[in-house]
C-alpha cells in the first residue's frame, strides 16, 4: 500500500462527489415519490441549471447504504453517453435532518444523500399517453434509433439495463432520448456464467427466458423489451399486457408461437419449462397480427421478438437494420416538436383537481366503456390504420377523454415491484363494467424512478397496497395522473440488494456472546 507523504498534493480529480451539499440547489418541486425517496426538480443556485434530485433513502439502519443504490451509482458513473441519463454528482445534506415535529432524529445519516441527474422533460410512456398524441414514423425511427444506440453502448460496456420500458426512457424537448433508472442494472461478463436473478424487468416487457426461469442470460433480455416497446409505438398500445407470469407467457406464446427444441434448442431444459409447457402447440403470428406494419418494421420486430435469446437480434445489428435506412428516414431529434414542458408541474392543489377530474372521467367511462385509445402512428398516407388486434369488435378509436394536457411524466402513483412473481395480483381489480385494455397502466412508474427493485426472499407481497390498487387503470387518458414520472415507485426497496435476501441473518447475536470488542 502506498502512502503519500502528509501534505502532498493530490493530483487526482478533486473535490470528489459528495463534497457539495444539497444546499447548492434550490428545490423547486417534488416530481416523484416512493419508498426509495422523493425526486425533486431543483435549480442549481450558482448556474440556474435545472436538475432532478433523487433522494437515497437511508432510514433502514440495519441495512445501511442500499446496495442497489451503490450499484446504480457505480454503473452510472461508468456510463457516459448522450443516450444514457447523466448522473452529475452526489450531494449530501449537511447535518441531521429534522423530522416533522422539528426534532432532530437520532439517525445521523437519515435520508440525506441525493443523486443529481440532468433534468428531462418527459418520458416515452407519458408522452405517448398524452391525449391526442400521435407519433410520426420518422419520429418513431428517431426514438428507436436513440434507444438502440444507448442500449448498444450499455451492452458494449457490459451493463444490462434490465428494466427497459417506456417510462424509463426519458425525452427532453430537444428530442433526445435517454435511458434512465439503472436501479436494476447489472454488470455482466460475456461468458454468461454468473447466476443472475430472473426477477427483473417489468412483466409486460420481460422476455420468455426469464419467465422460464433462466439465471444465465445476457443482453438479449433488453432486446426483447425493446421489441415490445417498438411494437407498442407502432401498434398504439402495449402488446403483451399480462396480469401475472403464467398469463404473460401465454400471451407471448399466442403471439410468438410455442417454443420447442426446433425453434429454441435447449428450451426443454429451462428450469420452469415443464410448469409452463403449453397444452397445445401454437403458431407464430407476429406477421399476421402486425401485418399493418410496414415491411421493414415488421422484419426488425420479428428479429427482436425471437423466443430463443441466442437468435434475437443485438442492438448493434438492429441499428444496421434496413428499417433505419429506408424511407422515411429517422428524423433529426432537433426537428421534433417541442411538447408542453413538464417544468410547469402542477402544484399539489392542481394535481388534486386533476385527480377529481380523473375520477369524473372514470365514472363517465364506466357508464360508457371506452377501449384503449392511444393512437397509432401517423402513416405516410395520413390514414389511421385499422386496429387489428386483439379484440374484434372493439371500436377502433375511442373518443379522447378530454384531459388537461399535463406534463407527460407518469406521475405520483406508485407501482409495484417489477421483479415480484405476482406483480399483478389475480383479481386485484375486477374492473367495473368495462373491458380494460390497460390493466395496470396507471401503475407504471419510472423515469428517474426507482421503484422496481426486485423483491427479496420468496417474493411475497401483492404490489399494490389496499385501496391504492390502480388495477385496470382504465382506458387511457389518465396519463396526467397515472403512473410515476420521475416516479419512485412504491416498489419494495430491498435494502439488501437484489441478489438474495440479505436479511437472512446467521444469528446476529453471535458477536455479543463471544466477547464483543468494544472500544468506544
Amino acid at each position: 500500500m502506498a502512502v503519500a507523504a502528509p501534505g502532498q498534493l493530490n493530483l487526482d480529480e478533486f473535490p470528489s462527489w459528495g463534497s457539495r451539499g444539497v444546499d447548492c440547489f434550490e428545490k423547486l418541486e417534488q416530481i416523484g415519490e416512493g419508498t426509495y425517496g422523493q425526486v425533486y426538480m431543483a435549480k442549481e443556485i450558482r448556474t440556474g441549471e435545472i436538475v432532478a434530485l433523487k433522494k437515497i433513502r437511508m432510514d433502514n439502519e440495519r441495512e445501511g447504504f442500499p446496495i442497489t443504490a451503490i450499484r446504480e451509482i457505480k454503473i452510472l458513473k461508468k456510463l457516459q453517453h448522450q443516450n444514457v441519463i447523466q448522473l452529475k454528482e452526489i450531494v449530501t445534506s449537511p447535518g441531521p435532518e429534522k423530522d416533522e415535529q422539528g426534532k432532530p432524529d437520532g439517525n445521523k445519516y437519515k435520508g440525506s444523500i441525493y443523486m443529481v441527474f440532468e433534468y428531462m422533460d418527459h418520458d416515452l410512456t407519458g408522452l405517448a399517453d398524452r391525449p391526442g398524441m400521435r407519433f410520426t414514423v420518422p419520429q418513431i425511427k428517431c426514438y428507436m434509433r436513440q434507444l438502440l444506440t444507448g442500449l448498444h453502448y450499455c451492452h458494449v460496456n457490459q451493463v444490462l439495463h434490465r428494466d427497459i420500458k417506456g417510462s424509463n426512457l426519458l425525452i427532453d424537448n430537444e428530442g433526445n432520448l435517454k435511458l434512465a433508472d439503472f436501479g436494476l442494472a447489472r454488470s455482466f461478463s460475456n461468458d454468461h456464467t454468473g447466476n443472475l436473478t430472473n426477477r427483473v424487468i417489468t412483466l409486460w416487457y420481460r422476455p420468455p427466458e426469464l419467465l422460464l426461469g433462466a439465471t444465465k442470460y445476457g443482453p438479449a433480455v433488453d432486446m426483447w423489451s425493446v421489441g415490445c416497446i417498438f411494437a407498442e409505438l407502432l401498434h398504439g398500445k402495449p402488446i403483451l399486457p399480462g396480469k401475472n407470469e403464467p398469463e404473460q407467457l401465454t400471451k407471448i406464446f399466442e403471439l410468438c408461437g410455442t417454443p420447442d427444441e426446433v425453434n429454441w434448442p435447449g428450451v426443454s431444459k429451462m428450469p420452469w419449462y415443464n410448469n409452463f409447457k403449453p397444452a397445445r402447440p401454437m403458431k407464430r403470428r407476429v406477421r399476421e397480427l402486425f401485418k399493418h406494419f410496414d415491411r421493414h418494421a415488421l422484419e426488425l420486430l420479428e428479429r427482436m421478438l425471437m423466443l430463443d435469446p441466442s437468435q434475437r437480434i443485438s442492438a448493434k445489428d438492429a441499428l444496421d437494420a434496413e428499417y433505419f435506412w429506408a424511407d422515411p428516414l429517422p428524423c433529426d431529434p432537433k426537428s421534433l416538436p417541442k411538447y408542453e414542458s413538464s417544468h410547469e408541474f402542477q402544484t399539489k392543489k392542481k394535481r388534486q383537481q386533476q385527480r377529481q377530474h380523473e375520477e369524473m372521467a372514470k365514472r363517465q367511462k364506466l357508464q360508457h366503456p371506452q377501449p384503449h385509445a392511444r393512437l397509432p402512428p401517423i402513416q405516410q398516407t395520413g390514414q389511421p390504420h385499422p386496429q387489428m388486434w386483439p379484440a374484434p369488435g372493439q371500436p377502433v378509436h375511442g373518443a379522447q377523454p378530454q384531459m388537461a394536457a399535463g406534463p407527460s411524466h407518469h406521475y405520483g402513483k406508485p407501482r409495484g415491484p417489477s421483479g415480484g412473481p405476482s406483480r399483478y395480483p389475480p383479481g386485484a381489480n375486477p374492473g367495473g363494467g368495462f373491458n380494460p385494455a390497460h390493466p395496470t397502466r396507471g401503475a407504471q412508474g419510472g423515469g428517474y424512478g426507482s421503484g422496481p427493485y426486485p423483491q427479496q426472499g420468496g417474493g411475497r407481497g401483492p404490489p399494490y397496497p389496499g385501496g391504492n390498487v390502480p388495477g385496470p387503470a382504465g382506458p387511457r387518458g389518465s396519463a396526467a395522473t397515472s403512473g410515476a414520472g420521475y416516479g419512485t415507485g412504491v416498489g419494495n426497496y430491498p435494502q439488501g440488494g437484489p441478489y438474495g435476501p440479505s436479511g437472512t441473518s446467521r444469528g446476529p447475536n453471535v458477536g455479543a456472546n463471544r466477547g464483543q470488542y468494544n472500544w468506544q
Binding site: 500500500m1 502506498a2 502512502v3 503519500a4 507523504a5 502528509p6 501534505g7 502532498q8 493530490n10 487526482d12 478533486f14 470528489s16 462527489w17 459528495g18 463534497s19 437511508m58 439502519e61 440495519r62 441495512e63 445501511g64 447504504f65 446496495i67 451503490i70 450499484r71 451509482i73 457505480k74 458513473k77 452526489i90 449530501t92 437520532g106 439517525n107 445521523k108 445519516y109 444523500i113 454488470s187 447466476n195 435494502q495 439488501g496 440488494g497 441478489y499 438474495g500 435476501p501 440479505s502 436479511g503 437472512t504 441473518s505 446467521r506 446476529p508 447475536n509 453471535v510 458477536g511 455479543a512 463471544r514 464483543q516 470488542y517 468494544n518 472500544w519 468506544q520
Partner: protein, 204 residues
C-alpha cells in the same frame, strides 16, 4: 507510485476465488492482508508522531474523523480480520477487496493516515462494503456492527464516509485483483523471509 503495478500478476483470480487445492486458505489471505496493514500502521504511527511533534496538521482530516477511535483497540489487526471473517462469513476475496479500497482511499486522500487508531474501523467498513458488493448473501450493517464492536449508527456513518472517500469506485477488476494478490503474496514472502533471516542469525 504504487509499487504493486510493477509486479507481474501470477496469482490468479480463480485460484483465490474458487479455492483450488493450491489456493491460500482464508486464513492465509487474512494473514497476508493483516501483514501488509500492520506494516503500514507501524510506519504511519511514526509519521503521525513526527508531525505532531513538529506541530503539523491534524492527521484526521475532514471526513476521515469518523474512523478515528478514541484509543487503540486491544485486538491485533490479524485477530480482528480473522474475527470478521469467521463471524460474517464473507468470502476471502472480500478481504483482498477491502485492502484495495483502503489503498484507493489513501491514494485519493493522502491526508488519511491509516494508523492504529483508525485501521480497525476502516477495515471493518471496507470488508462490509466489499461483502455487500461481491457476496451473494452478505450480512447487513447491524451484524457487522456487532461483530466489529461498533455501534450500528457509527458503522453506517463510516460506510457513507468511505463510499464518498472512494467516490463510489468499488469495482475491482480481475486484473487489479490479481495485482493486489501478487503484492500481498510478495509482501508475505518478504516478511517471512525477514523473520527467517532473523532466526538464522539467532542460530549463528
Amino acid at each position: 507510485m504504487s509499487h504493486y503495478r510493477s509486479i507481474s500478476p501470477f496469482t490468479t483470480w480463480r485460484r483465490w476465488m474458487w479455492q483450488d487445492a493450491d489456493a491460500p486458505d482464508a486464513q492465509g489471505v487474512a494473514l497476508a492482508v493483516a501483514n501488509a496493514l500492520e506494516k503500514l500502521v507501524t510506519r504511519n504511527d511514526l509519521v503521525a508522531a513526527d508531525s505532531e511533534q513538529s506541530g503539523g496538521q491534524d492527521a484526521a482530516g475532514r471526513g476521515t474523523a469518523a474512523f478515528c477511535g478514541p484509543r487503540r483497540p486491544g485486538i491485533s489487526i490479524e485477530n480482528y480480520i480473522e474475527r470478521i471473517h469467521s463471524y460474517a462469513l464473507c468470502s476471502p476475496a472480500c478481504l483482498v477487496a477491502a485492502f484495495v479500497y483502503l489503498d484507493r482511499a489513501v491514494h485519493r486522500r493522502p491526508d488519511l493516515l491509516v494508523g492504529s487508531l483508525n485501521v480497525h474501523r476502516l477495515l471493518l467498513t471496507a470488508v462490509m462494503i466489499a461483502s455487500k458488493f461481491f457476496d451473494t448473501m452478505p450480512q447487513n450493517n447491524a451484524f457487522y456492527a456487532k461483530v466489529g464492536g461498533v455501534s450500528n449508527a457509527d458503522l453506517n456513518k463510516m460506510e457513507v464516509e468511505l463510499l464518498f472517500l472512494l467516490d463510489f469506485g468499488i469495482n475491482v477488476t480481475s486484473l487489479e485483483f490479481e495485482s493486489y494478490c501478487s503484492y500481498l503474496e510478495k509482501e508475505m514472502v518478504a516478511s517471512n523471509h525477514r523473520k527467517g533471516a532473523g532466526s538464522d542469525v539467532d542460530l549463528l
